[in-house]
């Protein structure tokens, strides 16, 4: 028994299969392009709002850095284990000494000089 469809039907089936194949490819491309756009958008947002990482380590690092920044220290510290944009952390003040300099006689000549260099 000949199961081959008649010529007209076969061409219609081939046309349908080709269209379905094209749709499948188109769908895959749409998915790929969408993922790319989402990634690009995420990158743009991350660049525009740096330091807003959603990772847990970044968040804990931020709080630790904020505490450190509030303490005056020689090392200063701009804050930030992760991306650290300069203006994000509160500004620690310039701290005065525990004791102001005391008056001293000019002689004998001091062994150390503080002056411009």
């Amino acid at each position: 028994m000949d199961r081959t469809p008649p010529g007209g039907s076969r061409s219609r089936i081939e046309a349908r299969d080709a269209a379905l194949s094209l749709l499948g490819r188109l769908r895959r491309w749409i998915v790929v392009v969408s993922l790319g756009l989402v990634a690009a958008l995420a990158g743009l947002v991350a660049h525009a709002k740096p330091g807003k990482s959603s990772t847990t380590s970044g968040a804990s690092g931020g709080s630790r850095d904020a505490a450190r920044s509030s303490q005056p220290s020689a090392g200063g510290g701009s804050g930030g284990d992760a991306l650290a944009p300069a203006p994000a952390a509160p500004a620690p003040a310039i701290s005065p000494p525990a004791e102001a300099p005391l008056p001293a006689p000019a002689t004998p000549a001091p062994p150390v000089v503080s002056g411009g260099s």
């Binding site: 701009s78 102001a100 503080s114």
Partner: protein, 309 residues
């Protein structure tokens, strides 16, 4: 009377002076200081082509790997910019090179009358610096050059004084080009220091003697590191807003603070602040001595009067 051992040697284009009360350990103290100075030079020198700073400045805006020390130095510089609202700005590298300070100062001093037009680099660009501590990278925009001159030397003094004190105990004073950091117990009566305009040309009749118990003491001066250009005399303290040497309202400003970094940031900012400097320093409670262009001396924040004055 406390016995003090002293060692001094050239370093970082200026002089290093080390004083310790633990006299027998002076040798170890000096080795530690030399290590710290070598490390800060490798990280932060603007004139060494192989320094981390030079590599970053040649990086064309690409993220650059950084050592722990270099990251700390940049953090300190960013803090300085933040607490002074940009008066002390590490992104003045292009500006200071444009006005002539583009190599070791000894070479610049011999040059006279070259055209050195100001390059306005735009204030506030320190906000564009990105640090990633985890990846240990630094990123600056391609058209920005950093200069850590306002903070790196002071950071080295603080780090060295702390390390020496931890290693040998007793009282320690480190002076780098006249910027002082003190750790540990001071000698009886405090460390005797002459405060003046030029640390290399001081005399007992120049400036004022004080006793310092701890923390840091720094002096910035527009009277030193000056050079001649076709546009007029320039000095090394740049106003980030103009890209030119700061107006010479003050010949010298000396500040005592909790550390050498804090003191040096305050003196540099005060020079840039100009007329507003005394009020700004007083509001921060920083003992300060300011010498105006005409030699008039102002004292704020509890800075002592001269003995016999």
């Amino acid at each position: 009377v406390t016995v003090i051992a002293t060692s001094s040697f050239p370093a970082l284009g200026t002089s290093a002076v080390l004083l310790v009360t633990n006299v027998p350990r002076l040798g170890l103290a000096r080795r530690i200081l030399e290590e710290e100075l070598a490390a800060i030079d490798e990280a932060c020198s603007r004139f060494r082509p192989d320094s981390e700073l030079s590599l970053l400045n040649r990086g064309h805006g690409c993220p650059t790997r950084a050592s722990e020390l270099f990251i700390e130095a940049i953090e300190v510089a960013l803090n300085a910019a933040r607490v002074t609202r940009g008066l002390v700005d590490p992104t003045v590298g292009r500006a200071i090179a444009a006005i002539g300070y583009d190599r070791d100062f000894e070479a610049i001093a011999k040059e006279e009358g070259m055209r050195r037009p100001v390059v306005a680099t735009g204030a506030g660009r320190w906000r564009e610096i990105r640090l990633n501590r985890r990846a240990r990278t630094v990123h600056v925009p391609g058209d920005v050059k950093l200069d850590l001159g306002a903070t790196a030397k002071a950071l080295a003094a603080d780090r060295a004084a702390r390390r020496v004190q931890q290693a040998i105990g007793g009282g320690v004073l480190v002076s780098l080009g006249g910027d002082l950091s003190i750790c540990g117990p001071a000698p009886r009566g405090g460390w005797l220091v002459q405060v003046t305009e030029d640390h290399a040309a001081a005399s007992p009749t120049d400036g004022q003697a004080v006793r310092v118990m701890g923390g840091g003491l720094a002096t910035s001066s527009t009277a030193v590191r000056r050079w001649a250009t076709a546009e007029g005399a320039r000095h090394h303290i740049v106003n980030p807003a103009s890209g030119d040497s700061a107006d010479e309202v003050w010949r010298a400003v000396s500040v005592a603070a909790a550390s050498c970094v804090h003191a040096n940031v305050a003196t540099t900012a005060a020079i840039v602040h100009g007329e507003a400097a005394p009020g700004w320093l007083a509001a921060l409670g920083l003992p300060s001595r300011l010498v105006a262009r005409d030699g008039r001396v102002s004292r704020v924040g509890g800075w002592p009067e001269e003995v016999g004055a």
